[in-house]
Symmetry: C2
């Protein structure tokens, strides 16, 4: 049993769908049970959002989900037709037909359960089942969507529910690279990567797989493979444990879509950090790196990063709470980028951090903040230095 | 309780949807319960058919319905957003959410039942319910569509199921006219028309309302009104009995999308007509006018009309069965048109047929076949004479 997922670029037009259909047909003809998950075609979702925005700049999320889910529904019908054309028995199913039960968080719903009976019945009839990704229904029988990249989550959830042997994510890149191959010509494709490394890479802006889908794959032990629908080459396998890699790190990634906020002159007493991040949490603003440092004369400073789109509202709510939090100054900038290296065995190998910092020093790139975890080291640098930083670090580890 | 249906041209773009939303809001604000049925936007359905055709010239009807139903689903979400924008509480529902149960004739399904509980619950909460037209689900939980113009049927079926006081069909014309106003400048809008007249007019190519929806309205006594969403004028009311009209007929219509087939030299014995029309029925070809005349020497001739698109296949199957049917010659032409007058009280009024034939005689237009019913007289004329015939007949009755 194999679950194959084709992203928006992999079903963008007639030719892409036909290409994808042949990939499916090949695996089916080898005797596998096949479940295929499809995204909306190319720019469809953006076009629908645009259309809605003209009618109502602030439409209800429920109606938005009714609208957006049509994109994947159209894709699954088209894919099924393409499979029929080449003689493959096939049936398309929407989220509600599959029985993908979610909570009611329209626009970013989470899957609660999958009643895969219909899928199993169709597979028993030796049909290829083409499922509309990204969508489900809540307890009121209303349509929900899983948020951007939600089709990855659909694919992994189905692989888990059906106990599939493999979940293949087809996209427009050949796999996971040691750095963004569009910017670093020397970047090389990884044969294997762990779930944890993949999670760090996704959150670092590598944008290969949606984080939720990787978390789910890790939790249920789903064997993932990321590969291209345009070139017939092996992709990157995502697993719990991988064989020894030659290098100590798996990849270098940059994320420029962030902003840094620094609060200066905070009282050095308990509860300050709690107050700050409670205010931000109430405003539904996610915080990434947090750094606390000692300031002048019994004060402390707290800096953190947020998504660039949240910068304005974060500054706004913090200003509103200046008195309760008690800071003297706030500074905000979006002229920064986060550059990170990821590797499962990194921290146990000596000198990895030093090597990274040396690469930046060689290039005379100033480091703004440093944050480390078991498998990741991130630094903030000036936005203009980001590409150069990735290039230098990549050359140092993989060159 | 009012059901309002907006066709594809009435929701074609942002401006059209906004205009429709104000029409809905007005009736809602008067205190009515409102159910709104929408078609797919403008050319959406044709575009989807085109897209499917590129992947598979002969896709399964099941998958086609999954694909096409997305058009109306997108429309109902967009209409609901437009209503929200102007402060109207509103909720969109798809065919399966409403519970529109159909048979399994994908592409031309018939409604078997409507479980309108969800709609009633939403109306009880004083919400405007926006329903995706044209679609339902069958007993397997698969999506079905009702065929071209199926949104009219959805609207009338909902009006019947909900016992609505009125079902308004909004379109791009102001109502039903005594002739096609694009061709006959003197054509005038009818204030009222009977179901039966409307049925004859629709089948004559007037193309205002889908025939099935009128039949259903007649069966369940649904008060229909056909009107424009672009101009705020009273439309045409469709009822069982209407008040006396000044003229004896309601309208003149031409249908050029027909072909005539004549079988000559048939044996004059029982069962011949049965054989001919059984062969055609088996090939799923619908026949309109049938005329039988006496031929030479103990033979008879049978002529009939079919939709122009069916001409080739009709001629084909009849040729294959020439021996069993037993005719000497077959003649086929599509250079003809059907011109008809319709009026509920026509046959009881003397001289109507004579007046029609006089109009044609004045214009020196030759009549090919004549067919009459209780409320209709149709003649076949040369295709090139059709417009002139309508104009002359219209002037004779309404001039």
């Amino acid at each position: 049993m194999i679950v194959q997922k084709f992203g928006g670029t992999s079903v963008a037009d007639t030719e892409c769908i036909q290409r994808a259909a042949w990939i499916v047909a090949e695996k089916y003809s080898e005797g596998n049970d096949l479940v295929v998950v499809v995204s909306a075609q190319g720019e469809t979702t953006d076009e629908l959002i645009d259309k809605a925005g003209k009618l109502n700049p602030n439409p209800s999320k429920r109606e938005m989900d009714v609208l957006l889910s049509t994109g994947e529904q159209a894709s699954c019908a088209l894919m099924s037709m393409a499979l029929e054309k080449i003689g493959m028995p096939s049936v398309s199913l929407t989220g509600w037909q599959v029985g993908i039960q979610t909570d009611s968080a329209y626009g970013s719903a989470r899957i609660k359960a999958i009643s895969a009976e219909r899928i199993k019945a169709e597979l028993d009839r030796r049909r290829i089942v083409v499922v509309a990704g990204f969508q489900g229904i809540n307890g009121f029988n209303d349509i929900t969507t899983l948020g951007r990249g939600g089709s990855d989550t659909t694919a992994v959830a189905l692989a888990a529910a059906l106990n599939a042997d493999l979940c293949q994510i087809f996209t427009d890149v050949e796999g996971v690279f040691t750095a963004d191959p569009r910017k670093i010509p020397d970047a090389r494709k990884l044969e294997e990567i762990t779930y944890d490394e993949m999670l760090e890479l996704a959150s670092l802006g590598a944008q290969v797989l949606q984080n939720r889908s990787v978390e789910m794959a890790k939790r249920y032990g789903v064997n993932l493979e990321v590969l291209s629908s345009f070139e017939r080459k092996p992709g990157t396998k995502v697993k719990e444990v991988i064989k020894m890699e030659q290098s100590k790190i798996s990849g270098v990634a940059a994320d420029a879509k962030i902003a840094r906020i620094a609060l200066v002159g905070l009282r050095d007493e308990p509860g300050i950090a709690f107050k700050i991040f409670r205010v931000l949490a109430n405003a539904k603003i996610n915080v990434d790196i947090i750094l606390q440092s000692i300031g002048r004369e019994d004060t402390k400073d707290i800096s953190f990063t947020v998504a660039r789109g949240d910068m304005e509202s974060a500054a706004q709510v913090l200003s509103e709470h200046q008195n309760t939090i008690g800071y003297t100054d706030i500074s905000v900038t979006d002229k920064i980028a986060k550059v990170s290296i990821v590797g499962a065995g990194m921290m146990s190998a000596s000198g990895v951090a030093a090597l990274m910092f040396e690469a930046l020093y060689d290039e005379k790139i100033n480091i703004g903040m440093i944050s480390t975890s078991e498998i990741k080291i991130s630094v903030l640098v000036d936005e203009r230095d980001a590409d150069r930083a990735v290039s230098a670090i990549h050359a140092k580890f993989f060159g």
